[in-house]
């Protein structure tokens, strides 16, 4: 095992995990303009849905992943319809929406803990025989490679969708100016609920993949959300590529940081990066 390549790879692995969270978070934030805390718990929803279908019921892994992703997407979609849409109709401020999303976050987390207990669970089906690849003397597991590829592929698809499709153009219009979009005839409520569906589904996939890599627990959402948010702000809120860049930058700063100083500083380093960006480059790496 060579040290520097492995450090680089560890940073990339961490960055890839953050990317999956950031992509969905950024999409929802740029469209709705409110800080959606429930996004974190969607990862746990996806992870536990997969756990239920594939580990408890014993259904095939592939089917479990699809069901987990769909399930997380539907929960996000449902939350928008039941909670956020009525609030928006009542012209509730973003602060109210933030508090509502905190409430939904806590409630969903508690429900998962009641249904599945808060025990740490691993998802790996093939104990001990994970495929491991070597790159320049550094190792990466199959799951981690899948995380990395999924992150990049989803980034590509999202960018394409936003650029080429009607839905994407509508999303862009809504995120630029919701009122004007309404005037030109875009059904903004429909667009926003679709954004919730897509964003939450991506978070669900993130939860499943993190589960394969380490494991799942009901409280996993908060940590992922915090890192996803930092990455998103550092990279440039609302920008697809910016979010990805921010994720990898965060991964590198964290892992190279604790190489030199003690590991207990990891979270402090992450939030330090956030504060530096907020002070000196609040628009992020790439401005929207």
């Amino acid at each position: 095992m060579s040290i520097i390549p492995q450090l680089v790879l560890n940073s990339i692995i961490a960055g890839a995990i953050y990317t999956l969270v950031t992509l969905g978070f950024n999409l929802i934030y740029s469209t709705t303009k409110f800080f959606n805390l429930t996004h974190g718990v969607m990862a746990a929803v996806g992870g536990y849905a997969f756990f239920f279908f594939s580990k408890s019921l014993g259904w095939p892994v592939f089917l479990g992943v699809i069901l987990g992703v769909v399930f997380a997407g539907l929960i996000g979609f449902g939350l928008d319809k039941i909670v956020y849409l009525p609030l928006r109709k009542r012209k509730a401020s973003n602060m109210v929406l933030l508090v509502a999303s905190l409430g939904a976050f806590t409630a969903i987390q508690a429900i998962i803990a009641i249904l599945f207990t808060s025990q740490f669970q691993t998802l790996n089906m093939n104990v001990g025989v994970q495929k491991i690849y070597e790159i320049f003397g550094a190792v990466i597991t199959q799951v981690q490679l899948i995380i990395l590829i999924s992150g990049l592929v989803i980034m590509g698809i999202l960018a394409l969708v936003v650029k080429k499709t009607i839905l994407g153009k509508s999303i862009k219009a809504v995120s630029d100016d919701e009122e004007v979009s309404k005037i030109v005839g875009i059904n903004t409520d429909k667009i926003i609920s679709r954004v919730f569906l897509i964003g939450s589904a991506i978070a669900g996939l993130a939860g499943i993949l993190v589960g394969f890599d380490t494991g799942i627990e009901p409280t996993m959402g908060m940590n992922l959300l915090l890192k996803g948010t930092i990455a998103s702000i550092v990279g440039g809120v609302g920008n697809i590529y910016g979010g990805v860049l921010g994720s990898f930058l965060l991964g590198f700063v964290e892992n190279f940081g604790i190489w030199k100083i003690s590991g207990e500083w990891k979270d402090a380093i992450a939030f330090g990066l956030l504060i530096i960006f907020l002070l000196f480059r609040p628009q992020g790496i790439i401005k929207k």
């Binding site: 740490f120 001990g128 892992n255 590991g263 207990e264």
Partner: protein, 373 residues
């Protein structure tokens, strides 16, 4: 005032009246024959719940035996089980409820040092006995005269691990990865002191939060210094993640854990992934006790601390029977106790620590732990 507000106020008044009548009717019941309430705190969900739930079953078993034997002077024991989740905040609110609402004289628990050190000071102020069956952090010994534990302090375990690493494993250079918690820091400090006394060298100490799940960089940092072994006093959930990542990174160094790894779930998860050993308490509970527990839980293992939880309940029942519910008298009587239980011999130092302890070393193999020393 509109109609809805009137309705709501009306409902509130009705509820208050019902509650008032209910509490007046309840009052006269407090007489002889009323159960004696005892509190229990341990992780029933989350980290270490695989141990906590069996400890709870052990206390239930002890209570059944005491109650079927006539209870305490005719009064049955009723234990109120609270989930501490191995978490500071949750344990404090659990203890708050037990002390202020249920008014228990004794709390059996907590299991994690994290729990006990969180609610301990509050219990001491309220003169409530804290009788832990599993907490090991050395600094708990300073809590006060109402604190006891039937599980030995890590000041003994840390020393034993250091001596085992130096003498039996022949280790001279050690890297340490610990959880920043009362448990991890407590055992690490004692280990370090003893290991350096013996002439060994601690190459590096890395602490991580208890809920950390990404140990990759820390692990290669440790392993890069070529330690003879990596000492890892951590709680089990983090250890599962860390040991799996160590295997993925191709680290073949021997890992030495503490009794935090004496957890059936952890052993199932990491078995076969590397050379993992840990120190733990000698679990010499008699077979018939183990069988009784297994019959109750329907499980296949009797984890660490089970017999301690059972003994704690039995000792408390015996002491209350003798001196009543005054916690000052209970405390004096506990200091005098010499008890031969399912765990072994129990007698306390003035600080509430056990005077004797026997440790063993176990290796993780085939999904369980096998004694090797």
């Amino acid at each position: 005032m509109n109609k809805t507000t009137k309705y709501i106020i009306g409902i509130i008044i009705i509820l208050l009246v019902i509650w008032g009548i209910y509490s007046i009717v309840q009052k006269p019941k407090e007489a002889i024959g009323e159960p004696i309430k005892i509190g229990f705190i341990g992780p029933l969900t989350g980290e270490l719940s695989s141990i906590g739930s069996v400890s709870k079953a052990a206390v239930e078993l002890a209570v059944e035996e005491v109650n079927s034997d006539g209870g305490i002077n005719g009064r049955p024991i009723e234990v109120i089980y609270e989930d501490g989740q191995c978490n500071t905040k949750v344990a404090i609110s659990a203890a708050n409820k037990l002390i202020n609402i249920d008014k228990v004289p004794v709390i059996i628990g907590g299991l994690c040092s994290t729990e006990t050190s969180a609610f301990g000071p509050m219990a001491m102020e309220n003169e409530v006995i804290v009788f832990s069956y599993c907490s090991t952090a050395p600094k708990l010994s300073e809590l006060g005269k109402y604190f006891f534990r039937s599980y030995p302090s890590d000041s003994l375990q840390g020393k034993f691990s250091a001596e085992y690493a130096y003498n039996d494993l022949g280790a001279r250079k050690i890297a340490v990865l610990y959880h920043i918690s009362d448990y991890g820091i407590g055992i690490k400090d004692v280990f370090k002191q003893r290991f350096e006394e013996l002439g060994g060298k601690i190459l590096i100490e890395e602490g991580t939060p208890q809920d950390s799940r990404d140990y990759r960089t820390v692990l290669i940092k440790l392993n890069n210094l070529n330690p003879d072994i990596i000492f890892m006093p951590t709680y089990p959930d983090g250890a599962v993640a860390a040991l799996k990542q160590a295997q993925e990174l191709g680290i073949t160094t021997k890992f030495l854990g503490g009794d935090g790894w004496d957890d059936p779930d952890l052993q199932k998860e990491v078995s076969g992934r590397g050379d993992f050993i840990f120190t733990g308490i000698v679990n010499s509970s008699p077979e018939d006790f183990k069988n009784k527990i297994l019959a109750k839980t329907g499980g296949d293992q009797v984890p660490v601390c089970t017999s301690n939880a059972y003994d704690n309940m039995k000792i408390i029942a015996q002491v209350i029977k003798k001196v009543g519910l005054d916690t000052n008298k209970i405390q004096e009587e506990l200091h005098k106790i010499k008890y031969n239980g399912e765990f072994g011999y129990i007698e306390f130092y003035p600080n509430g620590d056990l005077i004797t302890a026997n440790y063993t070393v176990k290796k993780i193999e085939d999904g369980k732990a096998i004694e090797i020393k």
